[in-house]
């Protein structure tokens, strides 16, 4: 049998097939969100001119179009409002059961954040359960730096997990 896949992609990284954000400074002006996440902080941006807190973070305030923004911390714990468990047909890159929940973080505008729930067996989560931020590493982003070669930019992403009772 012939080799599966596309031989010309051997050892190459196609960003069009990457399910994670291009978190690096070179490709994303929201890179500070991910740097904060690496420190275990869930953050977003607040406009220093009009006071609007946006989630997700922005590089320009969508209300007054100021570029004078700062990162602020969001709560790392919240409560499950509703949740769903997908057992079959889980997309590539995710494991079954794929659990999603609407989580109330208790502050605006993050009162109804939709997140994946990790470290949770099927059939155990309940409405009203307390969940906490769970940061995990994801594959590094290979960035072509010309004569310097390819550097590997470390990446993380987040979900929420049940708080142990």
């Amino acid at each position: 049998m012939a080799v599966l896949g596309i031989p010309i992609l051997e050892d190459l990284y196609p960003s069009t097939m990457d399910m994670w954000p291009l978190e690096a400074k070179e490709f994303n002006r929201n890179w500070m969100f991910y740097e904060n996440l690496k420190q275990g902080r869930l953050t977003t941006t607040k406009c220093k001119d009009c006071g609007l807190v946006s989630y997700p973070p922005r590089v320009i305030c969508p209300e007054c179009y100021s570029e004078n923004l700062e990162y602020i911390d969001l709560p790392k714990k919240g409560k499950v409002i509703v949740f769903s468990e997908e057992v079959k047909g889980v997309p590539l890159g995710f494991q079954s059961p794929l659990i999603h929940a609407v989580i109330d973080l208790g502050v605006d505008p993050a009162r109804r954040v939709l997140s994946r729930i990790t470290n949770c067996a099927a059939g155990t989560l309940q409405r009203g359960d307390e969940v906490q931020l769970a940061v995990f590493p994801v594959p590094a982003l290979p960035i072509d730096k010309g004569k310097l070669g390819t550097i590997m930019s470390e990446r993380v992403f987040f979900a929420f997990e049940p708080v142990k009772k």
Binding site: H100, V102, L114
Partner: protein, 394 residues
């Protein structure tokens, strides 16, 4: 004075798992459309709007409009472009075509929508669908495939309004049974309430028949002015009376309603479309709603104003969506049974309403004079409504 836009003709290819390329599907749909209006020839068409969102990922083809123009044999001289609003692509194309012909910037516009979603390896389409929503904030949580999102929506509707699983199943049964006589629908099997209730679980509370299938397919319609249309047909003309497209958010965390079953953006779109069309919800004799999931239709009948908020389950469960009911809905099978090749859906919906208003639908609603189509798209981000009538707005 602005010209009046009408939908002159429409057609679609057989939808389902198709052994065909994307551009094959567009050719078949264009043929079906010209078969519907034999006096019109490809050379008469001066504009083309192509609605396709997945051509780039699933067929490795972007800049689709000229590709489709050449394949279907039209040579646009006023507009040749693609629009990408996912599930609402076809409806968006009709709105754009309407504006162009009303303004005199085009005379006869073909609106062609289609998707080829089945790829040689099935995992690829599920993976690519992660791009349907905001990639960095929702897709990355595995939210590209809608069942989890609409399962949460269904839970909230059940929680707040007491909607039952049986009421959801009633939507699937009605829509599947309409499609049994539709030769181009993906699903053509009669469905009983018992089968719907006992179907395999997808994401609780949604089971198999609560979810529309993955579909290859294309549909084509022709938008022109009433004056031009009369040169080609003696059929009653079907006017586009009023439209609206509302988008208040994209990321799910910023959903505009109080909860996921509260569709504020649908209500705003409906109010605007009704105002522009100079009609009210009670004037709608037949409708095509976006039943991507059974729960969607339940919420849509509420937020389109066909019944009170919270009573959608009872409305659907008591046969008000069937012929003889208050507003017969999805009389060709809807998304649940026809299937849902995103960009094609709004064109299929418009074509069915055109046939209803001309008195030539398979499941004809008696004396239908005002009809409505509704699409939602993304993670319930955008709502698109068109209102058609046998008379222009005066």
């Amino acid at each position: 004075m602005a010209r009046n836009a009408v939908i002159l003709a429409g057609g679609q290819c057989k939808w389902g798992v198709r052994e065909a390329h994307l551009v094959d599907l567009f050719q078949e749909a264009a043929k079906a459309c010209f078969d519907d209006i034999p006096t019109l020839k490809p050379k008469d068409v001066d504009g083309l709007i192509v609605a396709s969102s997945y051509a780039g990922r699933c067929s490795f083809q972007v800049n689709t409009a000229p590709v489709i123009a050449e394949r279907v044999g039209v040579k646009p001289t006023s507009i040749c472009t693609r629009c990408d609003t996912l599930c609402a692509g076809g409806s968006t194309g009709i709105i754009l075509a309407m504006g162009l012909v009303q303004a005199g910037a085009a005379d006869i516009v073909m609106v062609a929508g289609g998707e080829k979603l089945y790829t040689p390896q099935k995992w690829e389409v599920f993976y690519s669908e992660l791009a349907s929503v905001d990639h960095d904030w929702d897709g990355v949580h595995g939210m590209g495939l809608p069942p989890p999102f609409f399962a949460l929506t269904a839970q909230e509707h059940m929680m707040h309004y007491g909607t039952t699983k049986e009421q959801l199943a009633a939507v699937s049964v009605a829509n599947y049974n309409y499609a049994t006589t539709n030769p181009v629908a993906q699903m053509q099997k009669a469905l009983t309430l018992e089968e719907a209730m006992n179907a395999p679980v997808v994401v609780p509370p949604l089971t198999l028949y609560d979810c529309c299938p993955i579909t290859d397919g294309a549909a084509v319609c022709i938008i022109t002015t009433d004056e031009i249309a009369r040169k080609f047909t003696d059929r009653p003309l079907v006017y586009i009376r009023g439209t609206a497209q509302v988008c208040l958010n994209s990321v799910s965390a910023n959903f505009p309603g109080v909860h996921l079953a509260d569709w504020k953006h649908t209500r705003i779109a409906a109010e605007k479309a009704y105002t522009r069309a100079k009609v009210s919800a009670s004037d709608i004799k037949v409708a095509q709603t976006h039943d991507c999931f059974s729960i969607s239709e339940v919420i849509e009948v509420e937020d389109l104003g066909f019944c009170k908020k919270g009573e959608g389950g009872e409305f659907c469960g008591s046969k008000q969506i069937e012929i003889g009911g208050k507003v017969p809905i999805n009389t060709d099978g809807g998304l649940l049974a026809c299937g849902h090749p995103f960009g094609a859906t709004g064109i299929r919906q418009g074509t069915e309403i055109m046939k209803q208003l001309q008195g030539r639908a398979r499941h004809q609603v008696k004396d239908a004079d005002i009809g409505l189509t509704h699409n939602l798209s993304g993670a319930n981000a955008e709502h698109t409504i068109l209102i058609y009538g046998k008379e222009p707005v005066k």
